[in-house]
């Protein structure tokens, strides 16, 4: 099922032409209307008229989260405020919030793109969609809401939090699709179990999760516990919000809405493009945004592109599920470590729960990493030997995955704080 087949299955050559046209138009507009870009282009002696191919994009300067902050609140808007019908601000996971705006057309496009992602994830007009993302300055709630409404689904704008009430509504309203963060989905699943509710009595079929990195193992876990098909979707408020990319039912990479977003993958240190298929930082240029276009926005998200055709028939390029953020990247004794690598290992070990926390300390001149992971209760009643065995297994696997040794600590269920929004996975106590 496609939402906009003519775009999602568009011939690649035609798409590239469209992208070039839109890129040139966007550059002309930001140069005319946004002093920040004009100044930056002029300083770097970049003439937007000289952008003649998609590869010429590389000559343009990057835009960073700091640029957005420096221009707080409206400095990067490309239209006067009277044209803006909605204002959002980033969730501020990593600092001060940044402000973005939408024209009426932007909202229309946004709704359509989210509708594409929802459709790809199995949602139709017959579904009852429970949106457990916050309805606030954060783009998650409203973004998904408008998309689901655009499809014609029945939308429950429950917002985030109050898990017991989420589950009651899910039962009473016969929710068929759940929209939230993957960690919250897991919390809901565990709570359902604790409350002794028969999962088969629920009507859930699909789960569309995003707003934080998660792993394949975590998907399995959510799918098994909630008996649903769980897909990943991606977006960020600086670029639009949800709807930038989303998985189809193949569940193997997220289709990027390339007729609205031009993507690159760069090495976050050299800022050069990586070799095709290599992992690096995702950089996005918007092609159709009116109020808040961004040129080469550094997302800080790590992924790689998957150019192979997808059996679903969409011709848009896919990206691997986000592996982590460049800011999450921990440099431990000189080695780059991503929390997602640790998560993958933990999930593959029998007896662990999908809740963990990574604590980094500095002892003298040496970094020390302790992974705290929840384990099933039974193991604490077993002999110490079993616990030691489990710790050794995890240590060994982590060492081979990360090429550094880490400490492992088993903790009882529910010791690690649960998040209703984005989970906090890393505690870095180093004073660098």
């Amino acid at each position: 099922m496609y939402w906009e087949a003519e775009r999602e299955c568009m011939d690649r050559e035609e798409l590239k032409q469209l992208q070039l046209e839109q890129l040139q138009a966007t550059l002309s507009r930001v140069y005319m209307n946004v002093p920040f870009y004009r100044k930056k282009f002029d300083e770097m002696h970049v003439d937007p008229d000289e952008c003649r191919s998609l590869d010429d994009l590389r000559k343009l300067p990057f835009t960073t989260k700091n640029d957005l902050r420096d221009n707080y609140p409206y400095g990067l808007f490309a239209v006067p405020l009277r044209e803006v019908v909605r204002i959002h601000a980033s969730s501020g996971t990593t600092g001060m919030s940044t402000v973005v705006g939408y024209t009426r057309n932007d909202i229309k496009n946004w709704s359509n793109l989210v509708a594409r992602v929802l459709t790809a994830g199995g949602v139709t007009k017959d579904d009852v969609v429970q949106i457990a993302f916050g309805y606030s300055l954060f783009t998650g709630g409203f973004g998904l809401h408008y998309g689901a409404e655009r499809i014609g689904a029945s939308v429950i704008p429950i917002s985030s939090g109050n898990t017991a009430r989420q589950i009651k509504i899910m039962q009473d309203f016969k929710t068929t699709a759940l929209v939230c963060t993957p960690s919250y989905a897991l919390l809901i699943a565990d709570t359902i179990q604790e409350m002794g509710i028969d999962i088969n009595a629920l009507s859930l079929k699909y789960g569309l999760f995003g707003a934080e990195p998660w792993s394949e193992q975590m998907r399995q876990e959510i799918q098994d516990k909630l008996r649903i098909i769980a897909t990943d979707n991606y977006g960020l408020s600086e670029v639009m919000g949800p709807g930038v990319a989303g998985e189809c039912l193949q569940r193997n990479g997220l289709h990027i809405n390339e007729d609205h977003f031009l993507v690159e993958i760069i090495n976050p240190e050299t800022l050069e493009p990586v070799a095709p298929g290599e992992i690096g930082e995702l950089v996005i240029t918007t092609l159709t945004k009116e109020a808040f276009p961004v040129i080469r926005f550094r997302t800080r998200d790590l992924t790689r592109l998957m150019p192979e055709p997808c059996p679903c028939g969409r011709k848009t390029i896919r990206m691997l599920r986000v592996m982590g953020r460049t800011d999450d990247m921990l440099i431990i004794r000189g080695v780059n470590v991503f929390p997602s690598q640790i998560e993958n290992v933990l999930m593959s070990v029998e007896g662990t729960e999908p809740h963990y926390q990574i604590v980094v300390d500095r002892k003298g001149a040496l970094d020390e990493v302790t992974v705290m992971v929840e384990v099933s209760e039974s193991i604490f009643f077993d002999e110490m030997k079993k616990q030691h065995e489990l710790i050794e297994t995890i240590k060994k696997r982590l060492a081979s995955e990360l090429s550094i040794s880490v400490q492992v600590k088993l903790v009882e269920k529910k010791t690690i704080e649960r998040a209703e929004g984005k989970a906090k996975r890393v505690i870095d106590n180093r004073k660098l």
Binding site: E13, Q17, Q24, V79, R82
Partner: protein
């Protein structure tokens, strides 16, 4: 894709009118280019038609490079222009004007089909049949526009380019002309339409581009362009000065 243009530069003598135009027209679409006077709309159509030689960039018509082709050759390939101000041959009859348009078919060794085409044009524009023997110069503005479109259609073009077909016509006639353009698209023709009457053009188009001082500044579907406030302000006569300022 019927027409694909990348980084087209064009102008007159030392005057650079088009800076780097990239547009495309897919088969079966009405694509409109709107923009103020002097933005470069007519220059663009004339450059595609081969009447002005481009300075840089590439133009593919059905995957064939047409950048250096003569206007006759471009018409022969299936790309016809209905010029600004109609430019019918005033001292010739309506029928003769149409037959001249059919010259391409004659050259394609399809002269038997010229009469069929003539009938088709008369079917599309019954008024032209009534005026068949009349001198083109004696027709009203609207009739001349129909004749100019009919003459272009006689070449059986795959792509019809129209330059300001509504210019100087009474509102009712404009409505007729636009419904004919829409009908042409519905019959499978592909149209590239340049208009100052942005509202009417966007009303029938599938997609549109906004051309400003030789650059494309917007590409969107027609419906979105109609609701774009910049477009409303610049081309649809919405008076924002009277609105509350913030």
């Amino acid at each position: 894709m019927m027409l694909r243009i990348r980084n087209l530069e064009s102008g007159y003598d030392r005057l650079k009118v088009l800076r780097h135009i990239s547009i495309h027209v897919s088969t079966g679409e009405i694509v409109t280019i709107i923009g103020a006077n002097g933005a470069g709309k007519t220059t663009l159509l004339k450059t595609i038609a081969g009447l002005i030689r481009s300075r840089a960039g590439e133009m593919l018509f059905e995957k064939q490079e047409i950048t250096r082709l003569s206007p006759e050759k471009i018409v022969f390939l299936g790309c016809s222009l209905v010029p600004e101000g109609r430019q019918v041959f005033a001292p010739m009859t309506v029928r003769e004007n149409l037959l001249l348009g059919g010259y391409v078919q004659y050259r394609r060794n399809k002269k038997n089909e010229v009469n069929v085409d003539l009938e088709r044009i008369f079917g599309l524009f019954p008024i032209l049949r009534e005026r068949e023997a009349q001198l083109a110069g004696t027709l009203s503005g609207g009739e001349q526009q129909m004749l100019a479109i009919g003459r272009a259609l006689m070449a059986r073009p795959k792509l019809i380019m129209m330059d300001e077909p509504s210019m100087g016509l009474a509102p009712l006639i404009v409505k007729d002309i636009f419904s004919i353009i829409k009908k042409l698209r519905d019959e499978g023709n592909t149209v590239l339409l340049v208009e100052q009457n942005a509202k009417a053009a966007l009303g029938i188009a599938d997609r549109g581009y906004v051309l400003e001082t030789g650059r494309i500044v917007l590409e969107e579907n027609a419906e979105d362009l109609l609701s774009n406030r910049d477009v409303q302000r610049a081309y649809l006569g919405r008076d924002l000065d009277t609105e509350t300022k913030i």
